[in-house]
């Protein structure tokens, strides 16, 4: 990967900064989450903080809000070094955080939520409800919320609830507001209202840190941008001067020159299976707020990559196909047969298996042994009259442990004790044992060592060569491009382009990812908008 230090921009003098960190380093066992990062936000500025998975955004936010303590470096508040021991200490200092999920009390009234902890008191120290309701209604009107402030908060829409959270944060005299993907569950109209509020905060001299993966939003509302990658700050500067393509290049760790030059490179293109009927066809898959009519197909022996930034809907797409996420519209056919049931069990029976992104939470059952993990999805088929056949499990497990070279002290070792690479192989073994027709691989090589990574990649090639249909998601651009015969590009939960054959290049892919969403979701606008140099 080329060095990108040259893209650094001189630091802003920190007297003007409302909140800043200097040389911040944070380690977790085996991981350097933040490596000597400098970051600062000024009063009256909306500062975008972006980066792909593992870039260190959430760690940085957690240090800023007192959830984590820095290992090295310091946090300064209005230029003075501070140590926020707890989130409450940060809040008292005037730093408010708005998370994706609203953390208020849904059963209490809107007004009470707004005033929680500092209700206006009347005679005898009792809450002065009429004053509280009047004030609440006034405050919320400024945020475009016209709701009964006496009603429970839970009855409002998510957008309105978020506005209440925001109003609450601001009314606490917040001087710094940190927003972590605030729009992920908002309707377009609500997003506009939110932007209005953000601009007003800026004009009132509040410093805003804005985290989002939606490039359109960043350009609409942010003044400055800081890009993190692999725990380092790779760029800080005014956003308006930064070309979209360059922003994407910074996030993904590619040089512009490299991108443009590689635009002409050819990769292995046509596949002999190209003429066959698709083994998987997804049509118009929709999930509220997450997917908007995603369609694509996979032929036997083909590896179809899903491209896009974090939050573009890649994971949601494969989850909807595998029945792990309930689709509100659309249909999936496997080898011409419509997939019914909408559950993972139904998908597995039909021959669709998903290797989930979050190996630890959704893949491995850590307390069970390696052999039980491998046999898990096959238990009914390895049993007779409800009794498990140990001999058949041993045979199956032996075969796969050898074929995938799974390193464990014994098949009875707990799966939770294995290395990441071996856990991933255990999961692959679990899915291959079900003899799938289509394998959905969500970040199959993330967080595993180089050796295991090469083995997994080789295995995927081998499986495809044997006629399996494969859908591949990877944040590693190189892996995606080299591994895929075709790449479907997603943005904001919709397909915006498709690259096939010699179109599958880094340059074309990044152009497609970066292109502005001028048209509505679901419209394949990116296809025409992905020019190559």
């Amino acid at each position: 990967m080329p060095a990108t230090g040259a893209l650094d921009v001189p630091e802003v003098p920190d007297t003007a900064q409302a909140l800043s960190v200097h040389g911040l380093t944070k380690r977790f066992p085996g991981v350097l989450a933040l490596d000597a990062v400098d970051f600062g936000v000024q009063a009256g500025e909306v500062h975008a903080l972006i980066g792909e998975n593992g870039a260190g955004k959430s760690t940085l936010i957690k240090v800023l809000t007192g959830v984590y303590q820095p290992d090295e470096g310091e946090v300064r508040h209005q230029g003075t070094p501070v140590a926020f021991g707890t989130p409450l200490a940060a809040q008292r200092a005037g730093i408010s955080t708005i998370y994706q999920e609203v953390n208020l009390v849904p059963l209490m009234s809107v007004a009470r939520n707004l005033h929680l902890g500092r209700e206006p008191l009347g005679r005898f120290g009792l809450i002065d409800f009429s004053r509280m309701h009047r004030e609440a209604a006034e405050t919320l009107r400024a945020y475009g919320v016209h709701a009964d402030v006496r009603g429970p908060l839970g009855e409002l829409g998510v957008g309105a609830q978020q506005m209440v959270a925001l109003a609450r944060a601001v009314s606490f005299e917040a001087r710094v507001v940190i927003m972590d993907e605030p729009t992920s569950s908002l309707e377009p109209r609500e997003v506009e209202t939110l932007f209005g509020v953000i601009r007003r905060l800026r004009d009132e001299g509040v410093a805003v840190v804005y985290v989002s993966h939606r490039l359109d939003e960043l350009y609409a509302v942010c003044d400055t941008v800081t890009v993190l990658r692999d725990g380092r700050r790779v760029h800080t500067g005014p956003l308006a001067e930064l070309e979209r393509l360059r922003l994407v290049a910074l996030m993904l760790g590619r040089e512009m020159g490299e991108v443009r030059a590689e635009g002409t490179t050819k990769f292995g293109g046509e596949h002999e299976a190209a003429s066959q009927e698709p083994v998987l066809r997804a049509e118009g898959l929709s999930v509220p707020h997450q997917l908007h009519g995603v369609s694509f197909s996979v032929r036997p022996g083909e590896v179809v990559g899903l491209g896009g930034l974090l939050g573009s809907g890649r994971t949601e797409t494969v989850k909807a196909v595998a029945g792990a996420l309930q689709a509100s519209a659309g249909r999936v056919t496997v080898a011409g047969v419509p997939l019914r049931g909408g559950s993972p069990a139904a998908a597995i029976r039909a021959g669709v298996s998903l290797l989930p992104e979050d190996r630890k939470a959704e893949g491995i059952v850590p307390g069970l042994s390696v052999r039980e993990n491998i046999a898990l999805a096959m238990l009914p088929r390895l049993s007779r009259a409800g009794l498990v056949s140990e001999a058949r499990i041993d045979a199956l497990v032996g075969t796969f442990m050898e074929r995938l070279r799974i390193k464990a002290s014994s098949p009875r070792q707990k799966a939770g004790e294995l290395s990441g690479g071996n856990q991933q192989k255990v999961l692959l073994a679990r899915w291959l044992a079900t003899e799938p027709k289509v394998l959905l691989l969500d970040e199959p090589t993330r967080g595993i060592d180089v050796g295991a990574k090469a083995e997994v990649q080789r295995l995927v090639d081998e499986l495809a060569a044997n006629g399996l249909g494969v859908v591949l998601i990877s944040s590693d651009l190189e892996e995606l491009i080299e591994g895929s015969d075709r790449v479907v590009v997603l943005r904001d939960g919709a397909v915006v382009g498709e690259l096939a054959g010699d179109e599958v290049t880094e340059g074309a892919l990044m152009e497609a990812i970066a292109a502005a969403a001028v048209q509505g979701p679901g419209d394949p606008a990116g296809r025409e908008e992905a020019p190559r140099d």
Binding site: L368, P380, V388
Partner: protein
């Protein structure tokens, strides 16, 4: 920087030693506790080593043990079943009402009643998504209410067959203890050797992973609570036979707590994914022996409760250390 690393290293080392101790405690502590109490009583309690005393203890522990088996399944699935005591009460009411048709019919009706409660519990949890503690709390309250509607006051058992069940034995082993042994073996076999058992443990350990692996999560959860209900009904039947009376007001009160104690003390983690049948047996025996010891030494019942509290705290402390590892 190196100092920090070294300090962390030392901390980790001593931490590991402590973890090893608590892991041992969690794994075998309950058996050690049983042995200690047996030795103590052998030396200090009169007439402890008599066949008569062992029979009494066995008959008394049987209902707790049987209920604890079902509780172990519920806890292993990352749930809990608070309704077991009320199911025992429901069971005793049904036994009183149907004993006229003979003990076997009464048992069958009681078991169907327990299964029905379990079915409601399981459906609330698996289909509607109610938290196990809430769903089974509702049935805990409602179950006893239903039991009292069916049988408003205490009724003596006059059926000779039923009386024989409560006091008779086979080769010196009292019937209730015999039933408990059979059920222990049955549940042990289910956990270890059946598809249901494996699926239960996977669901208890990681529900999202189990769901994505295509496991019939709902069906397994419903089965768990039906099993728990049936076992509690059997325990209610045996307790009725031993007491020779049906008393839905008091039978099984606080039984859910005794059962949870037996399971937790036996080393089954509350976080699910593991069911220790042997440990649960030892846990139930430990509580029984503890109670018996204190009573035999003329200490008031409040002491028993305090002693139980200490045992629970020690067990939960050991479990906590394990969870951290």
């Amino acid at each position: 920087m190196t100092e920090v690393a070294e300090a962390a290293g030392t901390r980790r080392r001593t931490g590991r030693e402590r973890t090893r101790l608590t892991a041992w405690l969690q794994e075998y502590g309950v058996y050690a506790g049983v042995v200690v109490l047996l030795l103590f009583n052998t030396v200090f309690t009169e007439h402890f080593l008599s066949a008569e005393n062992f029979r009494t203890q066995a008959v008394q522990v049987a209902p707790i043990l049987i209920v604890a088996l079902g509780m172990a399944l519920a806890i292993g699935s990352e749930g809990i079943d608070l309704s077991v005591g009320s199911v025992m009460a429901l069971s005793t009411s049904l036994v009183a009402l149907y004993l006229g048709y003979g003990p076997w019919v009464a048992l069958l009706v009681a078991v169907v009643g327990g299964a029905a409660v379990g079915l409601v519990n399981g459906s609330l949890i698996a289909h509607i998504g109610v938290q196990p503690i809430v769903a089974t709390l509702a049935l805990m309250v409602g179950g006893r209410g239903l039991a009292l509607v069916l049988l408003p006051q205490l009724e003596d058992v006059r059926d000779p067959g039923m009386r024989a069940l409560g006091s008779g034995d086979l080769l010196g082993v009292p019937y209730p203890a015999l039933v408990a042994v059979v059920l222990v073996l049955l549940v042990g076999f289910t956990v270890r050797r059946t598809t249901f058992g494996r699926q239960l443990l996977a669901i208890g350990d990681s529900r999202p992973a189990a769901r994505l692996a295509g496991l019939p999560v709902r069906r397994v959860l419903i089965c768990v609570y039906v099993c728990s209900g049936v076992l509690a009904a059997v325990a209610g039947f045996l307790a009725t036979a031993r007491l020779q009376a049906s008393d839905p007001t008091s039978l099984g009160t606080l039984m859910e707590l005794s059962a949870i104690t037996a399971v937790v003390v036996g080393g089954t983690p509350l976080s699910g994914g593991r069911v220790r049948v042997g440990g649960t047996v030892a846990g139930a025996v430990l509580i029984q022996l503890l109670t018996a010891t204190l009573i035999k030494h003329d200490l008031p019942p409040s002491w028993t409760q305090l002693a139980q509290a200490v045992v629970i705290v020690v067990a939960v402390y050991a479990a906590r250390e394990r969870g951290k590892r």
